[in-house]
């Protein structure tokens, strides 16, 4: 007797796989020397179609594939999140890889693969499934990171990412094997039951530490954050954007599933550890970010700091903390992607990512300067932008859970972070541009998306209600 598979639940993944295969065939069939970017255009249309489709599927829930695949509000929220991220990434890729010719087509296929991996991560209900979907995402990211094959920095970044990523995969698997040994299963539901009925033993503690370490690799939190700055700097900018938003969100959806559901019964044991790690992560990121001269590196360390803020929500361990994480990530999406869009356009025009070269950007392109300013101010957490309210909810969540000291450390960190974000803003608006600086031209499509992202930053900050409700329903 075969178990019945409910294909409705996996409709998004199935559609994406069909698109991936279709685009692969198209890549082979289409004439090679064509100037038009068919694959990029089709991918873009397909993505918009998928978003429209996905918005109608909000009530989808259930479990299929023998319990390996779960569709719940959390999975729905994050899949919608990943689809929106990809719209931006595809637009950036079309711009950034113009010079690459037909090699760009393979890059689109890798992006689709990464998207499928992220969506599967959001729906995994079994450690085997989780491991494989994480690897689908990570392995395509390895290739994308080293994609500029004549650029030393890109290769170096790819190599470092591969070594640390595989190390994390090894830790993850070894941790799973011990959990499997203890609970006799890799299924989340069975392990959740095991956690409720058993106290934590040294074996499961060991497994928990290994698994957390491995997932924090994706989330860019201490202890596995050493790759972040190097890979952010060396990777092609669209990949950096994907790493900083998509990959981080994938890490946090896993952490939320594991710590709010699977290991929830052991909350008293891990809560304090997470609080301490959160404090270390944000302090480390913010302190080192102050001394950066490369904007991608600066955003790398800032991304570590933000992983620290997000960990506060996990440490709080309450529904408010979880909703805070969702809300924060939503604001972070528009904020960081706006910043990276500016970086893509600017680095194409100026050929540099050095912060010093951003001097006088406001006189070279008003919209780029405004986009960067809004993004930086929102990252710093100044009201009324998206970043402020997200931080506010997370702080409230940890205070309610009794970690007042953590909230104080976070508040101090936020003040410290003003310094380096506003340093960049000062360069852009106050410093005079170099004598030979020409105005920067922004392509029409990217200009629209940048305006959309800016609108998102402001809207999420001002009209908190609907977005907070969305974040709250996602964890029911």
């Amino acid at each position: 007797m075969f178990p019945v598979i409910n294909w409705n639940l996996v409709s998004l993944e199935v559609l994406m796989s069909i698109i991936l295969v279709g685009l692969t065939v198209l890549d082979i069939v289409l004439p090679k020397n064509t100037q038009k970017d068919w694959l990029g255009l089709l991918s873009f249309i397909a993505l918009l179609g998928l978003i429209a489709f996905w918005l109608t599927q909000g009530a989808l829930r259930g479990v299929t594939f023998s319990g390996m695949f779960v569709m719940d509000p959390l999975a729905w929220f994050f899949k919608a999140f990943f689809l929106v991220v990809m719209v931006f990434i595809f637009a950036m890729t079309r711009e950034f890889f113009k010079s690459l010719g037909e090699r760009r087509n393979e890059f689109y296929l890798l992006l689709w693969l990464a998207l499928i991996g992220m969506c599967l991560i959001a729906s995994s209900a079994d450690f085997l499934m989780l491991f494989i979907s994480i690897e689908v995402l990570t392995i395509s990211l390895y290739v994308m990171t080293a994609y500029l094959k004549t650029d030393k920095l890109s290769i170096e970044a790819g190599m470092k990412y591969l070594i640390l990523g595989s190390l994390a995969a090894g830790f993850f698997l070894y941790g799973i094997s011990f959990l499997y040994g203890a609970a006799h299963s890799t299924h989340f539901g069975v392990i959740e039951y095991f956690c409720r009925t058993h106290a934590m033993s040294s074996m499961t503690l060991f497994a928990l530490v290994l698994i957390f370490a491995a997932v924090s690799f994706k989330a860019a939190a201490v202890p596995f954050n050493l790759w972040v700055a190097d890979v952010y700097q060396g990777a092609p900018t669209p990949v950096t954007a994907l790493l900083s938003v998509g990959s981080k969100a994938a890490g946090f959806v896993v952490l939320m599933r594991l710590f709010f559901f699977v290991f929830n019964a052991w909350h008293p044991q891990w809560s304090l550890v997470l609080a301490i790690l959160s404090a270390i992560t944000m302090t480390y990121g913010n302190l080192i970010a102050m001394f950066q001269t490369n904007i991608k590196r600066l955003l790398g360390y800032s991304s570590v700091a933000h992983a620290g803020y997000l960990l506060m929500g996990l440490a709080a361990g309450t529904a408010l903390g979880a909703a805070g994480i969702n809300y924060y990530l939503l604001g972070y999406l528009f904020t960081n992607l706006a910043a990276f869009m500016v970086i893509v356009v600017f680095s194409m025009a100026a050929g540099s990512d050095a912060i010093a070269d951003y001097a006088g950007l406001s006189r070279r392109s008003g919209i780029l300067a405004l986009g960067l300013l809004l993004a930086l101010v929102s990252l710093a957490g100044i009201p009324p932008l998206a970043g402020f309210f997200g931080k506010f909810i997370l702080l409230m969540a940890v205070i309610k859970s009794g970690y007042v000291w953590l909230a104080l450390i976070a508040a101090a960190n936020i003040v410290v972070s003003f310094y380096y974000y506003l340093m960049v803003a000062r360069r852009v608006y106050v410093d005079p541009p170099a004598a030979d600086a020409a105005p920067v031209v922004v392509a029409q499509g990217l200009r629209l998306l940048l305006i959309f992202a800016m609108a998102g930053i402001i809207a999420i900050g001002i009209f908190q209600g609907p977005f907070f409700n969305a974040a709250l329903t996602a964890i029911k």
Partner: protein, 92 residues
């Protein structure tokens, strides 16, 4: 358990090797250690799920090494060396 020893050897290998291919080999050891542990627990627990997982792990490990070797080829073309010390362009 044997898997613990293999895991430790792999970990030391990753952190101390100066040669990128050696690092990749040590990473393989890490995954092999997990496989060993899965099979051992599977035997110990008396169910087959653990042995099933091993097949998937081998698959993923193969994909990872393929990408790793490809990046090493790129690295050799650009830097004419595959010593890990050569990867020092970016710091702080």
């Amino acid at each position: 358990m044997l898997s613990g020893i293999v895991f430790a050897i792999g970990l030391v290998g990753v952190t101390t090797s100066r040669h990128v291919i050696k690092v990749l080999l040590s990473l393989e050891l890490l995954l092999a250690a997990s496989n060993l542990s899965f099979v051992a627990f599977s035997k110990f627990n008396g169910d087959y799920a653990g042995q099933l997982i091993v097949f998937f792990v081998i698959l993923v490990a193969a994909a990872e090494v393929a990408i790793g070797l490809a990046i090493i080829v790129l690295m050799y073309r650009q830097l004419s060396t595959i010593q890990a010390d050569a990867l020092k362009e970016m710091k702080w």
